[in-house]
């Protein structure tokens, strides 16, 4: 496993240098920042102790869960962008930008998931974990409600001939508001969990 870690470090270094030579500075910085956030313990151990820490079952389990979350997110995002509603967001964009955005967002989901499982969740109390689950559920529900409300608004407006107001308000005001509350609440709890000392 140490050979694999060394391989990943060397590959990341080569890719970073390649990106810098191609003047892709933002991508290079993202890669370096992501690597430091994810693997600062390994880097620190390499510098101080001259060896990599073991990749034990907890680290493997957290990595697997983060990969699963990233994959589920990418599958969901792909499905959404294939819907007529999702295509609105991509019609004026080049394919390469859409793909880059999708993969960057997936990478971010992977990164946040890993940091959450590895650093934040073990330090959070049961109460905070339940609140976080509640906020994340609210976010998922608000996205689902948004899609359903847009669909129903269009169907009812099309059939009746007048602008349907209830689902319009739900889609334009209530669902985004719930999503904003969900994102802010989740982030606050996540950061508090990261900053907390192990109890």
């Amino acid at each position: 496993m140490k050979k694999v870690s060394w391989g990943i470090f060397i590959a990341a270094l080569v890719i970073t240098l390649l990106l810098i030579s191609l003047e892709q500075y933002y991508v290079a910085v993202s890669l370096v920042v992501g690597t430091v956030i994810m693997r600062h313990r390994e880097l620190w151990s390499l510098v101080v102790r001259r060896r990599l820490p073991p990749v034990d079952e907890r680290v493997r389990g957290n990595t697997n869960k983060a990969v699963r979350n990233g994959f589920v997110f990418l599958a969901g995002l792909t499905a959404f962008l294939m819907l007529p509603l999702g295509r609105i967001f991509t019609t004026d964009l080049d394919t390469q930008f859409v793909l880059a955005g999708m993969f960057l967002a997936t990478g971010l989901v992977y990164l946040l998931s890993y940091v959450y499982y590895d650093r934040a969740a073990p330090k959070m109390s049961r109460w905070r974990l339940e609140r976080l689950r509640w906020f994340l559920t609210l976010g998922g529900v608000s996205i689902g409600v948004f899609i359903i409300a847009v669909f129903l608004h269009n169907v009812i407006s099309g059939l009746s001939g007048f602008e349907e107001p209830v689902f319009f308000i739900v889609a334009v005001i209530l669902a985004p508001l719930a999503l904003a509350v969900s994102i802010i609440g989740s982030l606050v709890l996540f950061i508090m969990g990261l900053a907390a000392r192990p109890s």
Binding site: R41, P53, P54, D56, E57, R58, V59, D118, P122, P198
Partner: protein, 74 residues
């Protein structure tokens, strides 16, 4: 869900082992030992066995489950 308490800290202190030393012996990270001591990580049977052996005790003496809503004690 039944909650878990461990006596790793007591056994480790008795053997005068630091978290880092125990982690080295078992072949895991120090954070894993920290979370095990706090009962915030459920180890695999293999890891539990490794920790118990490193501390010269048995799994059932090291990990104590609160079975109020879990498997009833025999």
């Amino acid at each position: 869900m039944s909650s878990m308490k461990t006596k790793i800290k007591e056994h480790r202190a008795r053997r005068r082992l630091t978290q880092e030393k125990l982690a080295d012996i078992v072949g895991v990270r120090r954070e894993t030992i920290i979370y095990l001591e706090q009962g915030k990580y459920n180890p695999s049977l293999r890891l539990a066995h490794g920790v118990a052996r490193a501390l010269g005790t048995t799994i059932d003496r090291l990990f104590v489950f609160d079975d109020r809503d879990g498997v009833p004690p025999d």
